[in-house]
């Protein structure tokens, strides 16, 4: 069996497993898994930029929040239906990532990190400043009856789970297609050696901008869906904390692997969830586990599996 077939079968197998899990998971884990799948999409978007292109962003919460507020503000203030509002959420991600991307391309290395962080903070402060519309920290709540598309009630746990699974499946397919296509190879080449790739005749800036827009749009899609499925948009999602989360998830799962973001998000979510049930100092346990993992699996969980044998893992 070719490596290409193997990787598609593995990923589709995981989607099938998640499909089956919906029928067996207890209600608490059922809801948690839906949340994890949506956040995985955010991490997958981040992974395109960080894992494959080698650009470390500290401001991805801006894109997540762009999608979230694009949807929630148009539903709340323009009284749009969920479907069109979801498209607005996606478009917000495209516009914000394209605009920020054009400015970010003037920077590299540490400057890139700092500028992404600054833009993200500016976005966070903007959400707070326009509290009259966004309701700042308190946030916007999307009423249950408004959270439906084509007659499907997305506040219903089963529909919500399947919607999250659909989004994650789309993100897996997009990631696989990108990684296996020439575009993905060029992104990895840029990560490996920017200058060398340029000398071969590639327009580095155009590829980087495409990666930023794709990454931002996937993150915005996750933000918009999170708001739609869980009915809430708050300033916390635009804070620096939500820019650090996808970095951690991707590092834990394995940067530059398609499944890494899912494994990392799942691991981190349950690590904090379980340790918070044991002690109030749960972040200490989480931190210690992260240090251990970083020491013994520096390429992340999926990255380590790939290094140790399954070299065909994309």
């Amino acid at each position: 069996m070719s490596e290409l077939k193997k990787s598609w079968l593995l990923h589709l197998g995981i989607v099938a497993l998640l499909f089956v899990l919906q029928f067996v998971l207890p209600s608490y884990h059922h809801a948690s898994m839906a949340r994890i799948m949506v956040l995985t999409c955010y991490a997958m978007g981040y992974n395109i930029l960080f894992g494959y292109t080698g650009l470390l962003s500290l401001g991805h919460a801006l894109f997540f929040a762009a999608g979230m507020y694009g949807l929630s503000l148009s539903m709340q203030h323009l009284e749009w239906l969920a479907g069109p509002a979801l498209i607005i959420g996606l478009l917000s991600g495209v516009v914000v990532s394209l605009t920020i991307g054009l400015l970010l391309l003037r920077t590299t290395g540490v400057a890139f990190m700092i500028v992404t962080l600054m833009f993200s903070q500016a976005g966070y402060l903007t959400v707070l400043y326009f509290g009259e519309f966004t309701r700042g920290d308190e946030g916007l709540v999307i009423q249950q009856e408004l959270r439906s598309i084509a007659g499907i009630d997305l506040s219903d746990p089963t529909s919500r789970y399947f919607a999250a699974l659909l989004l994650m499946t789309i993100c897996i397919i997009v990631s696989l297609r990108v990684v296996q296509a020439g575009f993905g190879r060029v992104l990895v080449a840029i990560r490996e050696n920017n200058e060398r790739t340029r000398m071969l005749g590639y327009d580095i800036q155009r590829h980087k901008l495409s990666a930023i827009v794709l990454s931002g749009t996937m993150s915005a899609a996750a933000g918009a869906c999170y708001c739609l499925l869980f009915g809430y948009a708050g300033a916390t999602f635009a804070s620096v904390q939500y820019s650090i989360f996808p970095l951690l998830w991707v590092l834990l799962g394995g940067a530059g692997t398609v499944l890494g973001p899912f494994v990392g998000t799942l691991f981190m979510f349950y690590l904090i969830d379980l340790s918070s049930g044991l002690t109030t100092a749960y972040m200490l346990i989480a931190g210690f586990s992260l240090v251990m993992l970083t020491l013994f699996a520096p390429q992340g969980l999926v990255g380590e599996i790939r290094r140790r044998g399954l070299r065909w893992l994309p």
Partner: protein, 231 residues
């Protein structure tokens, strides 16, 4: 084919090249020769647009390329293999070649041509580039540059640090390309390499070029090597 006319360039205020001129014709190997720091690699980087030049002109088949951004220079049929190979170490041999092939959009059979020229690469197709030996890495770097089907190939010390058998293979490949009509500009420090494969030699001294000399004439003028590199 490639005409370099009175170019001057350098790094952040430190001028390295001063009015350097030479040309390379199709089916010819021209060797840039000189001591360390003479400006050989700087000259190649300037042709590739990696170092800007405000003085002089560089033309490829009559088209001025000296003001083009670095990523557009290869589109004029110029391939460049820098010193130290610079492969994409985490990619496999096949993926490294694909990166080269994709520049032109289509394969056009170049992949098979490269693998025929370097059969060792065919055996290592799915191996990561950083696991190859030095000679194999040089073959891959050369093969990847050939994937863009260059009319002009710039090579910066391709045999540096290689064992003799690998050196012979690389030289054979360079000669084969020359015989196919590719114009080759080679930076070399090894006298034997210069004498065995170059058609003409351009001596660089403190960033200044001297009139090209035919390699066959150098055999009779050993004082030239004495003068320019002290051997």
């Amino acid at each position: 084919m490639l005409v370099v006319k009175e170019i001057s360039s350098g790094y952040q205020g430190a001028q390295v090249l001063h009015n350097v001129s030479f040309d390379v014709q199709a089916g010819e190997i021209v060797c840039l020769f000189g001591r360390n720091g003479a400006g050989k690699s700087t000259c190649l980087k300037t042709i590739m647009g990696l170092i800007s030049t405000d003085v002089g002109r560089i033309a490829c088949n009559g088209i001025e390329i000296s003001q083009l951004p670095a990523n557009e220079v290869p589109r004029h049929g110029i391939g460049y293999i820098p010193q130290g190979r610079r492969l994409f170490s985490e990619l496999t041999v096949e993926e490294n070649l694909e990166i080269g092939l994709m520049v032109n959009g289509k394969d056009h059979g170049f992949r098979e041509e490269v693998l025929d020229m370097f059969p060792r690469l065919r055996e290592r197709l799915h191996q990561r580039a950083d696991t190859l030996s030095g000679g194999e890495q040089q073959m891959l770097a050369t093969g990847r540059a050939l994937c863009i089907s260059p009319k002009i190939l710039l090579l910066d010390e391709p045999t540096e640090g290689l064992q003799p058998s690998m050196i012979d293979q690389i030289r054979y490949a360079v000669k084969t390309l020359r015989d196919r009509g590719v114009a080759i500009l080679l930076v070399e420090q090894r006298v034997d390499a210069v004498l065995s494969i170059a058609d003409r030699v351009v001596f660089l001294e403190n960033g200044r070029s001297h009139d090209p000399v035919r390699a066959s004439e150098i055999q009779d003028k050993p004082d030239l090597f004495q003068r320019f590199i002290g051997v």
